[in-house]
Each structure stands twice: as C-alpha cells, then as structure tokens.
Amino acid sequence: MIIEVENLVKHYGEVKAVDGVSFNVEEGEIFGLLGPNGAGKTTLMEIICGLRRFDSGKVTVQRYDLVKDAYKIRGFIGFCPQETLLYDLLSVRENFAFSASLYRLSSKKFKERVEFSSKVLGVGDFLDRRVEQLSGGMKRRANLAASIIHDPLIVILDEPTVGFDPTIKREFWELIKNLKHYGKTVLLSTHDMYEADEICDRVAIMERGKIAALDKPHILKKTIGGEPTLHIKVKESQLDEAIKILDKHACTVIDDEIQVLAKNPWKMMSEISEKLVSHGVYTDRIEIVEPTLEDVFMKLSGKRLNVEE
C-alpha cells in the first residue's frame, strides 16, 4: 500500500469535516474520492499533502508517518489543486523551473522532466509563453505538469476537470490515465460520477466526512446501484395508453419517458416491445440503462450527487 489512512478525524470548529475515514491506496492505481461539495474530499487530500493538520488517526505514505516525516512525504507527492497555481507573469518553463527548485531537481533531471511534460502532457507548444497569455485548458495542463515536474510517486488531483467542457475533460482523462501508465499512483477527488467511472480503478464514495462505500466502480454499481432499467419512449399521444399496458411492471414516468426496473433486461425488453405493439403502441426508442455511480450515491445518501450541500 502506498497510502494508508486510518480512522482519520478533522474538525473545523464544531463541524466534523473528516469523520473516522480509513482507506488504502495501492501502488499504481487511480483511486477516486467521489462525493458532493462539502463531503470532506479536499480536506482529506490536503491532510495527505501535509497542508492541514488533523485531530486524530494515522496517515502513512510509502510507510512513512505523516506526522513524523512530513517533509519526506511531501517529496513523494505532486499536488494539483483545483485552482491554477502558476505565476501569470512567468513563462510556463519558468514556472516549471520554480516548481523544480522547490524539489531541488538537478538541471539534467529538469530537462528530462520538461521533455516528459511536453510529450505526455502536451505543453511543448507553449513552454515559453507567459501563463497570462494561455487559454484555460493550456493553463490547467501546465498546472498539472508543474505539479509533477519533480517526478513524484503519487499524484494528488483535487477536482482536476471541474469547469472543463466535455472535449477538454476527455483529453484530461487521457492525461490522467497516461500517468498511470508511467507508473504513478493517482489519488483524485471529483463530484463527477462519469469521471470516477471512466478513469478510477477504485472509488470511495464520501458523504458528510465519511466513506459510505468503497470498491471498483462496476462492483459498486452492481452491488449498491441496483437493477438495470428499461427506458421506453413512445409518442406523446400514446403515453397514457402505454402506462396502462405496463401497469403490472411498476413503472415510473420521468420527462415523458417510461422507466421500468428490469432484473433480466434483454428478456423484458422483447416482452414489453411485443406487448406494446400488440396494443398498437409503437416505441420511438427502448434502451437498457445500467445503474450509474449516481444511482449508487442516491441509494447511499438519498440525494443526487450534483446537488450542493
């Protein structure tokens, strides 16, 4: 285990931001902390990075104790918070040089790492441009590159794609997956269930400072998310009739779409299609929708994931 967190507690005054959290991160995996804003993800990450003290519990990184060996541990970690931590008036290369100086990188190693960043993170085209002249996407890439310029074992990313449009988000997901291929362990926080599902090997779902569930995304969906659903779209004029026909199936209607829980979705899809056709109701669309991490979170907390606390 590269990171071990044991019964961690952190208060902000009366508020328990992290409430007895325990989990381990294996070397080389992408581990996600999924939860809404205020769930305690950022606090937890900042504690691991040594930016915040904690009240009780234990954290070890590479078997070093966070309290006793804080400075040593910081050398293993590359922390990339939500905000862009670059100096606007410096070029990207100058920002890298500053970050490298914090970790006492040799000039040879620095050159290698700049090459790595250019190749893997795609910052080569704007290395010598001032940060203030870069687009938002470029800044975020440069920010990530600056935070791992010292070649850390662990990369900690706090909401790495928040505010991105879908295209850049996907690009970033590829960058993060690439880091794994280069042997990095990634710990990231997100409130985007698709992001967690897409790139994380394991996900811890956090709610009110606690871990509500932790496993691989597909296992979480299977064990907690529940059964798949059939989503049936019929002509608006035939909606009431269709609901009558499917009366026995305990269906719900959301946005003019009939949703039916399906233990055996393929079999049920053909049965329902036949039944509707036999009554003269024709479907525009019928599809099987597997449970998502959103459903998992709903089951655990009774709330939707993207609703802020």
Binding site: C49, G50, L51, R52, R53, Y71, K72, R74, G75, I77, F79, P81, E83, L85, L86, Y87, S99, L102, Y103, A146, S147
Partner: protein, 367 residues
C-alpha cells in the same frame, strides 16, 4: 444593478466584513493625528539634552541658574566636570549643546555684566538653531528674575561645533531620505511577498513541497533585500545627482548598516503578513506602521522634536539606530568603532524579529 454599482456594493460589503481592514482604516488617521498633536500641538515643541560645565565653583547663583535651566521644560541638563568631557559627549550627539559657566561668573554677574559660553552641535542645523535660540532666550530673561538691580542680559558667546564637516540643509536631509527604503521598501515588499502568494493560492504549492518554512522566508528575504537595495541605490543616485550633497559616502560602513536596517524592516514585514488575515489588512498595517515609525526614528527631523516620552519610544525602535548610524557615518565621518553599538543593536533586533516571524509563519502554515 449596473456593474459599476455592483462592484462598489460588493467592495463596500467586503470592507465591512474584514475586521482588520476596518481597524487599520480607523487606526491610521487616529495615530497620525495623535502623533502630530503630540509633536506640534504643544507650547514647547522641542526637547534636547544639553551639558553644563560650571567653572565657577557652584555658587548659589550658578546653582540656581542650572536648576532654572533644567526647569525650562525643553532642556534636559547633564552636568560635566570639565569642558573636554562635555565636548566629547557633544561629539557623539549625546548632548546637543554645552553651556560653559566661566570662572568669576558670579562676581561679574553681581558687578553688572556677565557672560557665558555656548557650544552648539552644528551637524543638524535645525537642532542647532533651536538649542541656540532656546538658551539665548533663557539667559535674556533670567537676569530679570534673579537680581532686581541687574539691568543687562547675560551675554551668550556662541560657537558652533561641527563634527566631521559643516553641513547645510541638503546634507541634513539626504541621510534621512536614505532611511526611507529601509523602512518602507523592505517592510512593504516583504509583507506583500507572502500576502501575494497567499492571495494567489501559490503559497499552497510552496507549502506542499518539502521546503522548510525558514527556507521559504529566506527566499522571500533575499528578494526583498534585492528590491530594497534597488530603492536605496536609486535614492542615492538621485540624491547625488539632484542635490550633490557634501557627505561622507563610506560604502564599507553604510552597506552593513543598510543591510541590517533592511533585515529589520523585512522581518517586521514578515510578522505583519503572518498576522494580517486579509491582504488589504496586511497592506494597510504595513503602510500605517511605516508612516508612524518615520516620525519616531529621526529620519526627517531630529528625535529631539518629540516629547520626552515619545523619544523613549524612538529609542527602543531598532530603525532609530540605523537612521542615527547612517547620519553619523555621512555627516560626522563616524568610524567602525563609533557604530558598533548600532550594529549590535540592529543585529540583535533583526534576529529577534526574524525568530518571531518564523514562529508566526510556522504557526500560521501548520494550522
């Protein structure tokens, strides 16, 4: 609401929610007003040490005269047994003037015509003028109160003593101007350095790295020293170019004093930046403290202008020693021996202030 009003309302609301900013906004005019009132708003706007050498065997008349001098309220009298000792103290600025009561003064006084000698420190023309006028006025009035039959004022034979070189207004003001960067540039730059990082969020990056807080503070100090040095250099070049003062530019003595003075200012700035929670609060605090301190350290006008109790405050401010040492080097041709006390004081205070800065910074980052 239009955007201009929206911004204004937001800023006003923010102002009222930043307690520190409110405090400094109120404190600044109050402190300045108190200070100006204390300095200029009284009947006796001056206070200086003077030495007395009584060569007339301490007769009742001379003893009474010394006692009355001491009671003027603007002179603090120190008694010396001989001229050499008194002039030595004059040379090191411990007294600003020496009154010599000659032998047979009492006899002359009773016979109707007496005089005394006055040696005034001329290295600060303002102080020299004030001391000279004050003492002359005293002796002009004194005869009227002592012997009713005595009709002529006591004549004051004045000589000005210049240590180093005779100076004019330009020479008087330039050493004070050179203190400006020590006080403002160093303090404001170092306050801004940390506050900027905090505001921008980049302090998080530094704190997440394996560098020790002391390394971070040293890095900031170096940068602030560099900026302060540039300010000093610009000031010096401008002073030489525009005013061409006739001063002793002994770089080997000025550099260490300015370095130590800057270190004190930087350390103070670091402390302010760790205490101030909001950037505006820290910035206001640094500016206010800088403006207030300039009155106490004898930068623009002699410390003797201050009331006695405020002079005591000035004497515990390390920057006062830097200002005095710079003046001594440039005006009095002071040697290394002469500035050992300021060097020791500034070194000691820089270490203390720095230690406090490091502790506050560590406490702040480890919260």
């Amino acid at each position: 609401m239009n955007p201009i009003m929206g911004i204004a309302v937001k800023d006003i609301k923010t102002f009222f929610r930043e307690k520190g900013t409110i405090f400094w906004t109120i404190a600044f005019p109050i402190l300045i007003m108190l200070l100006f009132t204390a300095i200029f708003g009284r009947d006796i706007p001056f206070n200086a040490n003077i030495g007395i050498v009584n060569e007339d065997n301490e007769t009742p008349i001379t003893n009474n005269m010394v006692s009355e001098l001491n009671n003027t309220g603007f002179l603090v009298v120190k008694t010396f047994t001989n001229r050499v000792e008194a002039l030595r103290e004059l040379n090191v600025s411990n007294v600003r003037g020496v009154v010599i009561i000659p032998q047979n003064f009492t006899t002359d006084f009773i016979s109707g015509h007496a005089n005394i000698s006055l040696v005034v420190d001329g290295t600060n023309p303002d102080v020299a003028r004030l001391v000279s006028n004050g003492i002359k006025t005293f002796f002009t009035q004194y005869y009227k109160t002592v012997i009713p039959g005595y009709t002529a004022p006591i004549e004051v034979n004045e000589e000005i003593s210049f240590v180093g070189q005779e100076i004019g207004y330009k020479e008087n003001i330039v050493p004070g101007m050179l203190c400006y960067p020590l006080l403002f540039s160093s303090m404001v730059v170092s306050t801004g350095a940390i506050v900027y990082e905090r505001e921008k969020g980049t302090l998080k990056k530094i704190r997440a790295s394996p560098i020790h807080p002391i390394s971070m503070l040293f890095g900031k100090t170096l940068a602030a020293l560099f900026q302060t040095a540039i300010s000093i250099l610009i000031m010096a070049v401008m002073a030489v170019t525009l005013l061409a003062p006739s001063l002793n530019w002994d770089v080997s003595l000025l550099v260490p004093i300015m370095f130590l003075g800057s270190m004190n200012g930087i350390a103070l700035g670091l402390i302010i930046s760790c205490i101030g929670r909001a950037p505006q609060e820290a910035s206001n605090a640094a500016t206010t403290i800088g403006i207030v301190l300039q009155f106490f350290i004898g930068m623009y006008f002699p410390i003797e202008y201050l009331p006695t109790y405020l002079q005591q405050v000035g004497k515990v401010i390390p920057m006062t020693y830097a200002a005095q040492a710079i003046r001594d080097i440039m005006v009095r041709n002071a040697t290394l021996n002469d500035i050992l006390l300021p060097i020791a004081t500034l070194t000691f205070s820089a270490i203390i202030l720095y230690a406090v800065g490091v502790l506050l910074y560590k406490r702040w980052v480890e919260k």
